[in-house]
Amino acid sequence: MNRLRIGHLADIDEKGARTFTVLDTEIAVFKLSDGTLHAVENRCPHKGGRLSEGMVCGTAVHCPLHDWKIDLRSGKVHEPDDGCLNTYKTEVDDHSGEIYITIAG
């Protein structure tokens, strides 16, 4: 069980995010303004802020608690802060618009 269907493209707003939980890990799926999807663990490495609530700018999200900036493609924290979070592979079925995500592996 490492590939999941999590929802439909229309479920997520542009520059927005939705969340779901797998095995106690909350994951946030973001839709950037170029339409691409990026899934990351929904916990800022700083103080655990829920990134799904943050502001999306380009390919990064700003944590709503203390404004750490995290790149959604790599999961890396932007300088001058430091840290990294788990990212997950996402795919979209071109015909149906269903979103698939791959956990671990």
């Binding site: 707003d13 939705r18 797998v22 609530e53 700018c57 300088e79």
Partner: protein
């Protein structure tokens, strides 16, 4: 394979941890590290304590390394557990809690403690030093209960403490034994100018006074001086100097003078034990400033990591007064002597004083007051020791970063600076780190260097050197010349952006960014919300509010808490509610298991700890306006009872408060806005610390503006006195609209008024036609705002974002 050696650090402060940081960089696996610290906090930036006290900075903000840093680097740490004994023979330390740790290398970095004058009464309650977080907390707590504070010591530390106490709203007197302030750093003219400036800020001074006794039964009541005069006070802060903390070293049998005696490599008199920082004495000097300590730490780290290093040779120090509103700088030997010559400029009109002290053609000291921009350049001239013969006047009249004159230029000085020299003392950033940011990380503006390395991000004193280094490293590749805009994405400031939006008719956030050439295509969390606000303010009728450019609190109309839950604050107009409303709130709180219901400071009820998915349901069931509880918008209108019930009330403050709140309840602004209405001059609604406060007097109303009761307390100033209720409304709305149209994003009215001046605001509002035009523009805006909570309840597209994705299913490959 060599086995890992054991390193024990006694003292969890700036010098010791800085040394450990370098060791970890140079030889990451050489040691198994244990740290003991007397304070219960992780390593923090002690020099920023005055900023915490002055307001605007929290204790969390000054932590340098969080607990996770210790964990990530495998460092065992015992906070709040000082070492009480060193057994040099068995190579072992023992802590207060009984922890024993053996070592191969021991570093003593026990720092120093505030020197408490040995006078009768010095042990009374309310007598403290200014050294650590605890002292800071004591002062903050005292300011809530007491009014009068005395600071003994008119040096740098004492004045910083005094400025902080002033900000906390206390009546502060500074007592100093010398005839002028900061006599260790400043000469007489500069000292007097400093005193004049601080007196204007409300600080009081007693000079040439020696404290003889502190009196009071249990807690301090007054100070008595040797001339038998007396000063009443509730709090005494001793800032007469620091004393290296050496008892532990002395007991261990180390050679100790004023501090623990060390050689150029930080070795003490016993092999295997080093000392660094304020507890150490090197060539007769125990330093109390951060830059020398960092230099010592670097030498020690290199030695312990087995890297080649030259010995530490002592430091020339400089001082910059960090407190707000006063620019003072001094470095090196600034006093005149028989073999020195000096050159000075004194301009009492503009409050500027500059002095350079010269010896044999070299600059050996400097004092700057009022304009300290040349401080960093002068300091680097002092350190380089180059001959400035013939260029003295040119240098004093303005050191140019480009170095237009003959002789060694700024560029040459930058080239000659050693790589490991600390440029930014607040954040410990070296010349090499700045070079790396420019050469390898693509930083070509001051802003980029700042965000990459944190250099000049704290007090800003090193900015000129950072700029010179940028020129040095980047050469022709330098970015657009360092003018700072509203954020790192643009060099335009607020007024330029607003003007361009109006002139060019820009209508969306994206358009502004495109047309004005933003560096980041989608901006950042600073500029996006501000552009969204400016556009809405300029085009109230046409602009469509951009949700994704708002901070969480405004996007979800509830405050995000640290655990990811939210809180809901239903509007309670003027603080007046009814049994039916209370029952409704209570019923909803019970139904959704709200963990806490709390009265806010603004007479409302806050439902705390709400899960995000319950927000729309709670709003719906409350059926009360619930947005703006934490937005940059009108928060509350606090009222007192007024003439409805109060025997002193002269006007109906409740009715006036409700009327204002109902009118303004959906008004957004550059920052939060709080109002209050008091029914008589007793001012029970505390209207004079609000953004706008209305106070009734017999037969009229006073309007006070620009007050603040938050971090930086500011009493409001009287805008006008008016006769009728209608006039109260007219002036209130005009004033708020003028603020909406002119303040910078995130600028509270108190800061705004301080920047533009009350007279400017009075002038802008004095013409009735202009006032009515402002009111009309505000009404146009208010007429188009909606209840955000209602919109979310009714629109499934918006509502879906409050719930997790449903129906996650395994998928076939």
């Amino acid at each position: 394979m060599s086995t890992t050696k054991k390193l024990v650090l006694v003292g969890n402060g700036m010098a010791g941890i800085r040394t450990i940081e370098h060791i970890l960089k140079l030889a990451p696996h050489a040691y198994e590290i244990t740290v003991f610290g007397a304070e219960p906090h992780p390593n923090y930036n002690r020099i920023m304590l005055s900023s915490v006290l002055a307001g605007g900075t929290s204790i969390e903000d000054i932590v340098i390394n969080e607990w996770s840093w210790y964990e990530d680097n495998g460092i065992r740490v015992y906070p709040g557990d000082p070492v009480i004994r060193i057994d040099a023979e068995r190579k072992e330390v023992v802590s207060q809690a009984g922890v024993r740790a053996s070592y191969d290398e021991l570093i003593l970095a026990t720092g120093s403690q505030a020197f408490i004058l040995p006078i009768p009464g010095a042990d009374k309650e309310g007598v403290i030093g200014f050294r650590d977080i605890k002292d800071c907390e004591t002062m903050m707590a005292a300011s809530h209960k007491y009014r009068k504070a005395a600071v003994i010591g008119g040096g740098l530390l004492g004045l910083e403490a005094a400025r902080g106490l002033l900000n906390l709203g206390m009546d502060v007197t500074v007592i100093h034994i010398n005839g002028h302030l900061m006599d260790r750093n400043l000469d007489l003219p500069a000292g007097l100018m400093l005193q004049r400036e601080l007196e204007e800020q409300g600080m009081k001074f007693l000079l040439k006074k020696h404290t003889e006794e502190i009196t009071g039964k249990h807690r301090v009541k007054s100070l008595r001086f040797t001339d038998q005069t007396v000063l009443e006070t509730d709090l005494v802060v001793m800032a007469v100097g620091i004393r290296p903390q050496v008892e532990l070293a002395r007991q261990a049998g180390l050679n100790v003078n004023r501090g623990v005696i060390v050689d150029d490599y930080m070795n003490t008199s016993i092999p295997g034990i080093s000392a660094v920082g304020e507890c150490a004495e090197h060539r007769g000097i125990a330093y109390g400033l951060v830059a020398p300590l960092y230099e010592q730490g670097m030498v020690l780290a290199k030695r312990l990591a087995g890297a080649a290093t030259e010995g530490y040779e002592g430091s020339v120090t400089s001082t910059k007064l960090k407190v707000s509103g006063v620019d003072v700088f001094s470095a090196g030997q600034f006093k005149d002597a028989a073999d020195t010559r000096s050159i000075r400029i004194q301009d009492d009109v503009d409050g500027v004083y500059k002095k350079m002290v010269l010896k044999d053609g070299q600059l050996i000291g400097a004092v700057l007051f009022g304009d300290t921009t040349d401080g960093a350049s002068l300091f680097s001239l002092i350190k380089s020791g180059e001959n400035i013969g013939g260029r003295e006047k040119e240098i004093l009249l303005g050191v140019s970063a480009g170095g237009s004159g003959s002789g060694p230029s700024a560029a040459e000085r930058m080239a000659a600076m050693p790589d490991d020299e600390i440029v930014c003392g607040c954040n410990g950033v070296t010349k090499a780190a700045i070079g790396d940011a420019v050469l390898n990380k693509g930083c070509n503006t001051l802003g980029a260097i700042k965000s990459c390395t944190k250099a000049s991000a704290s007090c800003g004193g090193c900015k000129p050197i950072v700029e010179s280094l940028l020129v040095h490293y980047a050469g022709d590749a330098i970015g657009e010349q360092v003018k700072e805009g509203i954020c790192g994405c643009t060099s335009y400031d607020r007024d330029e952006i607003v003007a361009q939006i109006k002139e060019m008719g820009l209508k969306t956030v994206k358009e502004v960014m495109n047309v004005l050439g933003w560096n980041e295509p989608e901006g950042c969390s600073k500029c996006r919300p501000s552009l969204n606000y400016y556009l809405g303010m300029i085009w109230p009728a046409e602009y469509e509010d951009e949700r994704v450019s708002k901070f969480t609190n405004e996007r979800y109309h509830a405050n995000i808490q640290k655990d990811g839950t939210y809180s809901v604050i239903p509007r309670i107009y003027g603080g007046v509610t009814s049994p039916a409303e209370l029952i409704k709130i209570a019923t909803v709180a019970e139904k959704y298991d709200v963990p806490m219901v709390k009265f806010t400071g603004g007479q409302r009820l806050d439902l705390l700890g709400v899960q995000k998915e319950n927000l729309p349901k709670i709003w719906e069931e409350l059926d009360m306006p619930s947005g703006f509880g934490y937005g940059k918008a009108l928060r509350t209108v606090k009222t007192c009872v007024g003439n409805t019930f109060c025997r002193f009330g002269t006007q109906d403050s409740i009715e006036m408060g409700i009327r204002l709140e109902k009118k303004l309840d959906k008004m957004v602004a550059p920052a939060k806005v709080k109002l209050a209405v008091s029914g008589c001059p007793r001012n029970c609604a505390e209207a004079t610390i609000k953004d706008l406060g209305v106070v009734a007097i017999d037969g009229a109303w006073e309007l006070h503006v620009g007050g603040n009761g938050g971090v930086k307390v500011r009493a409001a100033e009287l805008l006008c006195t008016v006769k009728t209720d209608a006039e109260v409304e007219e002036w209130t709305y005009a004033y708020l609209q003028y603020y909406r149209e002119n303040a910078r994003w995130n600028e509270r009215t108190a800061a705004w008024i301080e920047r533009v001046g009350l007279d400017h605001v009075k002038k802008a509002l004095e013409d009735r036609e202009e006032r009515l035009a402002l009111v009309e523009r505000l009404e146009l805006t208010l007429g188009r705002t909606v209840d955000p909570w209602k919109e979310i309840i009714e629109d499934e597209k918006l509502r879906k974002n409050f719930t997790p994705l449903a129906g996650t299913q395994p998928a076939a490959h």
